[in-house]
Symmetry: C2
Subunit: 355 residues, 2 copies
DNA sequence: TTTAGCACTCTTTTAAGTCGAGTGCTAACC
DNA sequence: GGTTAGCACTCGACTTAAAAGAGTGCTAAA
């Protein structure tokens, strides 16, 4: 965290990063001297840049080209930025406003927020929804649709509900549905998959009496419902935007990144490896996945009641407009956080209005 | 449908398509004469090809390059193929097998089938799930989670269920949940959004008595649930595979296509414009969306009980291995169809075993 | 410590020239 | 008439050479 660098070096480094991010081409001493640091001569800048290079903050694509920030250079830049990337209050308000409306389901809010982040920054956005736990169902409900179709509703301990259609090959009555529900609640609810033993099943079957076949049809769906992990998903928005950056005009690089985005594992890994709750920036090879080693990921987790319920982020080339991206992701994540937590407050009525 | 073309022309056209699909480079008369039609001289082929060009089946990137099929050329080829692209029974069986296991939810089956299609053909796969209709809710259920959290289950006329979490700012009892459910079923169920008038609401509120606030909390969720069209979704798999085809090494073309895939509207339009239920191949500009005018879409709808419940398909460049893609998509769609319809049969037990 | 000057390096651009694949056409052939 | 051989011609792809330009590193002076 402690970078041992003279003030002027830092200033030059910063200038290089910003110029390079903006222009996309290696930046030379002359440019810096003229545009960003008018009180230094090119030669001075050159000397400093040469030193920054041996320190590892800058790189030279080849002799007689300008300098380009190394990953370390970006890292330094980002760390310096840490304090000052916030959006203004007004901007934040605008974003929050655009998020309103859709404030119903968490998935939707996350997706919308990430989409917004993508379009505001012109990079690819991701929304992460963590796995929801269905390993223990605490309550069942059975709805009667018609004599051959029931709907099975399963409620997990964490409050997630999942529904399954039960299509039968025999006729049942509404009372059978109710009977099934009460049987399930009595014998199956509250158990994990492992705990549902044969004796338990037999008891349940006995309870169902003549409608045991209804139970077995239901159990089949329950098994599959409990086994499958819904969630752990990433929604991606705006892959096409990647193509507007020259670093991805090389099909090879693009392909790797696209693959990584699609497989999702690497990204999930990276995100789950992030410690704090703060905005985090993963630059180049800091990423777990090799195919993302030319890209940067900016993410922020979103918490509800102290628990991580998702994350939104931006993926782009290392040469990225960090200030803007960081400010946007941070503000949006913040907004989402407030929004999903304020549902409480809103309903609770006036209460230490914190705003 | 009636192409007025000599047998030999058709043969040459076919040869050109196949050679071009395989090699990716304009194919010349000599190549055809040597490899595909040994009993003709290059000159003859040349003459024929020149005629095929004025007829619009072939194109020439520039003088002194070989010929390339035009869209019409591909169309002809595909139409000719109509009969003979089927997979063998054994292959079909293998695919069906790989689909088994996941046979629970339609979404999953579709997604899995399309993923399989993509990996078998090395193109980008899509799975389409049509809009599910929630405009009229025929039945409500309310599950009691804890004193401040309920789960609201809504069942539409078409049998789709949707759940919403109801987070309250006041405490309720399990009996309140039941009461809410019966009130909703009495006053709200069976109506569309428009039909829920103020008087109706007031009646319902009166019915709820002191727990009217519970009703209003629920109504908020119901409104949002009914308004939102879930579904109409496209799941895409394997965009990165597009990059392995030289036609998309041009970033511009790729960008358009990626955009189209992402916005999804164009694709949905195209698909919903397809008339029959058969496998259909939409080549180049036959697509609705401009940005897909260099791509081909191969889709097949999937029906259940005579109703379209989804579709799977493949997107790739016009220069596509049509025979393989068509066979794969067709067979997979077929398998999925059988699978979701056989759930019935399986449960019904032995019955005119059709296989 | 900073700066001006200058030779040097290395990419990018431009131009010219060559190569080769494939065509279209004409004339001979069956 | 349909088919084939031969040949001139076209046009992109590739190669090579040269010129241009940008930026550096180093030296020496301020």
């Amino acid at each position: 965290m402690e970078y041992d660098i003279s003030k002027r070096k830092a200033q030059i480094l910063r200038a290089v990063v910003e110029a390079y991010v903006k222009g996309g081409e290696p930046v030379g001493s002359k440019y810096i001297a003229q545009n960003m640091m008018p009180n230094c001569s090119p030669a001075t800048i050159r000397n400093e840049m040469a030193e920054l290079e041996v320190l590892g903050y800058l790189e030279q694509p080849h002799t007689s080209a300008g300098r380009v920030p190394s990953e370390l250079g970006y890292r330094f830049y980002v760390d310096c930025l840490a304090g000052e990337y916030k959006k203004t209050k007004a901007e934040t308000e605008v974003m929050a406003e655009r998020l309103r409306g859709k404030q119903h389901e968490l998935d939707k809010i996350l997706a919308e927020a990430s989409r917004l982040a993508g379009s505001m920054t012109n990079y690819t956005a991701i929304a992460v929804k963590p796995r929801t736990d269905m390993s223990k169902i605490i309550r069942f409900e059975v709805m009667y649709f018609d004599s051959r179709n029931l709907v099975l509703v399963m409620l997990s301990g964490s409050g997630n509900a999942k529904t399954r259609n039960l299509r039968l090959s025999f006729d049942v009555l509404p009372t059978d549905a109710a009977h099934l529900a009460s049987t399930l609640n009595m014998y199956i609810a509250g158990h994990t998959l492992d705990e549902i033993t044969l004796p338990l099943m037999m008891q349940a079957e006995a309870e169902m009496g003549s409608e045991a076949r209804l139970l077995s049809a239901a159990m089949k769906e329950i098994y599959s419902g409990m086994e499958e992990q819904s969630g752990g998903e990433i929604k991606v928005d705006g892959v096409d935007r990647l193509l507007s950056y020259p670093e991805f005009s090389d099909v090879g690089k693009l392909r790797g990144l696209l693959g990584a985005i699609e497989s999702k594992d690497g990204i999930l890994d990276t995100i789950s490896n992030i410690d704090g709750d703060e905005l985090s920036v993963v630059i180049g090879r800091e990423n777990m996945s090799d195919s993302m080693s030319d890209s940067t990921l900016v993410v922020k987790k979103i918490k509800k009641d102290g628990k991580v319920v998702g994350a939104i982020g931006i993926i782009g080339p290392c040469r990225m407009d960090y200030a803007n991206v960081m400010a946007t992701v941070d503000a949006l994540a913040e907004s989402v956080g407030k929004m999903i937590n304020s549902e409480l407050r809103m309903l609770e009525g006036p209460k230490k209005g914190k705003e």
